[in-house]
């Protein structure tokens, strides 16, 4: 794990100390960070989900998509935006991608002086709890 990945993992563990935080290093140097059992409120077909992000070896160069547990859909039947997908990203775990870059916007490098990966987790959780 690189120093930057380690700092990000530490920030997630410190912020979500009441949750289990799983960390899995892959052969290519990327790291899956998963916060287990996140309460996402009544708007979904599940009340809790596992929230994951993959920190590439180039982290913090560029932000990365967040993923939830497989099969996550809105309880009101509306299509979600972005559309969740159930994908196996090579580690045998099926996940739904819930945030991603938008092609009409420039992709910015993750700025570690003003934000943390833990902060991004919080932002994604807030979005999940009040989906539009």
């Amino acid at each position: 794990m690189t120093d930057e990945q380690q700092q990000a993992v530490d920030s997630v563990r410190a912020t979500f100390s009441e949750h289990a935080v799983d960390v899995a290093e892959l052969e290519d140097g990327s790291v899956w960070v998963t916060v287990r059992g996140v309460d996402i409120g009544p708007g979904w077909n599940q009340t809790q989900t596992d929230l994951s992000v993959k920190l590439l070896i180039t982290f913090p160069h560029a932000p990365y998509p967040f993923y939830a547990s497989a099969g996550l859909t809105r309880s009101d039947g509306k299509a979600t935006n972005p559309v969740p997908q159930n994908v196996d990203l090579g580690d045998g775990v099926i996940r739904s991608q819930i945030s991603l870059r938008i092609s009409s916007l420039p992709v910015e490098t993750f700025d570690t002086t003003t934000e943390t990966v833990a902060g991004r987790f919080v932002w994604v959780m807030a979005w999940l709890r009040s989906p539009k």
Partner: protein, 504 residues
């Protein structure tokens, strides 16, 4: 184990301004440095120059002419330790020019202070340096070892050069270099012979660079490419023939260099995005980048700044305007490490960087919001033409040559773009971004940290391509038509014997 130090030209200029003033008196500065262990020796990589205030460099109470106040040294040691760097303290001998050495008082001060400073910086090396106007001497202390002397100081920048305790002996260059020696002298040729140069990418651009560097007479080449020669490479990869299709490009380059100058040492590697190969590249004095991969560009930018290896990125691009007309430009982007890095110049697009690291499944998952580039599973090759590669690489190789032989004039060495259709050459000045994680010494950047920071690259080495052809020995792969004929005759004879035997 030899010791050298490396400093950026802008920092050396600041150091000179601090150490050599009109008062012709001695002055001092602290240098905070990273550390790099190589097979050639240990390098101290200067990251910060911190002037010592005159009030903290007064007459000594132990009889020496001047000494740095203990409180100033302690403060510097604590700063260094907090930053995870090594402490070097430097002072000037203003009457020394091309030769310099420590006084006995200087050496006594080292013996007195260095053991405590090593403790304060958690066992990292501590060094004393003394500068003449065009020379430097150094003494490096490490835990439990006798002090060692600094061999040289490399100044990296517009004129990349070495300082020594005294001028080294010069040798007469080989006759093969007679015409170029007329331009930069035997000393220049000796400088080239002492250099290790990395060429990352052995395709159309990289092969031209390898060829030019071999003719120039550099001492060692590190050539990096994981790919094999394809048929479409034959139009532009120098040294490749139809018989080389399927062979590793780096093996073809090794043979090219051997034909030009067998005395040049060649090391071949696969991929600088992997830490094992990247660390080998950090041993180079200079590194060219000639690949299309953004991940390679990221890795190159990272290791050049973390290990203070200057270099130049080259490229040629053919795009199309709205009417479908070809738009051609070639570019060189020097990394003299005192200016903006490739990320500050905006040439490491994050979306492509992500896409290059993703699995097919990940790219497919994101495709529905993609712009059709980053998520493509089978991106089309870009156009590539040898004449365009030749322009970019000639500009870059000439800048490299002039940087090391001192032939560049005072114009800044910045990115250049040439438009062959209009014969226009434009300079592209850029600015370093405050807070840049690669090049800003004021930020928590990788600059000059060397081994004191883990390299943020893929662990280990790249695995070979499935389509890679097994290396052939020179005996099995004859070079001349006569050798080919003899081999063919030998093959016929062996077959004849074999056929006869099997016919029994």
């Amino acid at each position: 184990m030899s010791w050298t130090a490396t400093i950026l030209e802008r920092d050396y200029d600041a150091l000179q301004a601090q150490l050599f003033r009109d008062d012709e008196d001695e002055h001092a500065a602290f240098l905070y440095a990273g550390l790099h262990e190589t097979t050639r020796g240990r390098r101290l990589l200067v990251r910060h120059v911190v002037p010592v205030a005159d009030a903290d460099f007064g007459p000594s109470d132990r009889g020496a002419y001047r000494q740095v106040a203990a409180r100033a040294v302690a403060r510097a040691a604590l700063d260094c330790d907090e930053a995870g760097l090594c402490l070097l303290w430097a002072h000037s001998h203003p009457l020394s020019n091309r030769c310099v050495d420590f006084s006995s008082d200087d050496l006594r001060a080292h013996a007195y202070a260095h053991p405590a400073l090593i403790d304060m910086t958690h066992g990292r090396p501590v060094a004393g340096l003394v500068f003449g106007k065009a020379s430097v001497a150094g003494e490096i202390w490490t835990p439990g070892a006798a002090p060692e002397r600094l061999t040289s100081l490399r100044i990296v920048g517009h004129h990349t050069r070495d300082l020594f305790p005294e001028p080294p002996m010069s040798v007469i260059a080989d006759e093969r270099f007679a015409r170029q020696v007329m331009m930069f002298g035997d000393v220049g040729q000796e400088i080239l012979r002492g250099l290790t140069v990395a060429v990352v990418g052995a395709g159309g651009g990289g092969s031209l660079l390898v060829q030019m560097l071999a003719h120039l007479g550099v001492g060692k080449l590190i050539i990096v490419d994981f790919d094999v020669i394809s048929k479409s490479n034959l139009s532009r990869v120098v040294g490749a023939t139809p018989a080389d299709v399927g062979r590793l490009k780096v093996d073809v380059m090794r043979e090219l260099v051997a034909r030009i100058d067998p005395a040049i040492e060649v090391e071949t590697l696969r991929d600088i995005a992997y830490a094992a190969d990247a660390l080998r590249v950090t041993e180079a004095d200079f590194a060219f980048l000639a690949t299309d991969s953004i991940l390679s560009r990221y890795a190159y930018n990272l290791l050049c700044h973390q290990y203070l290896v200057p270099g130049i990125q080259v490229g040629a691009k053919v795009t199309a305007d709205s009417a479908g007309r070809a738009l051609v430009h070639v570019m060189e982007r020097p990394l003299t490490l005192g200016g903006p890095c490739l990320d500050c110049l905006g040439v490491i697009p994050p979306d492509v960087l992500i896409a290059e690291q993703q699995s097919d499944a990940e790219r497919r998952a994101q495709r529905y919001v993609d712009d059709g580039q980053a998520g493509d599973d089978d991106p089309l090759d870009d156009p590539s033409v040898i004449t365009l590669n030749s322009i970019a690489t000639a500009l870059a190789a000439t800048d490299f040559l002039f940087m090391f032989t001192g032939l560049l004039d005072s114009a800044p060495l910045i990115s250049r773009v040439y438009y062959p259709q209009t014969h226009v050459l434009r300079e592209r000045a850029g600015a370093a971004k405050p807070g840049c994680r690669f090049c800003d010494p004021a930020a928590a950047s990788v600059l000059a940290r060397g081994d004191l920071k883990r390299l943020s690259l893929r662990p280990g080495e790249r695995t070979p391509l499935a389509r890679e052809r097994a290396p052939e020995t020179s005996a099995a792969r004859p070079q001349s038509w006569w050798q080919r004929l003899r081999a063919w005759l030998g093959l016929v004879r062996r077959r004849g014997v074999g056929d006869g035997a099997s016919g029994r």
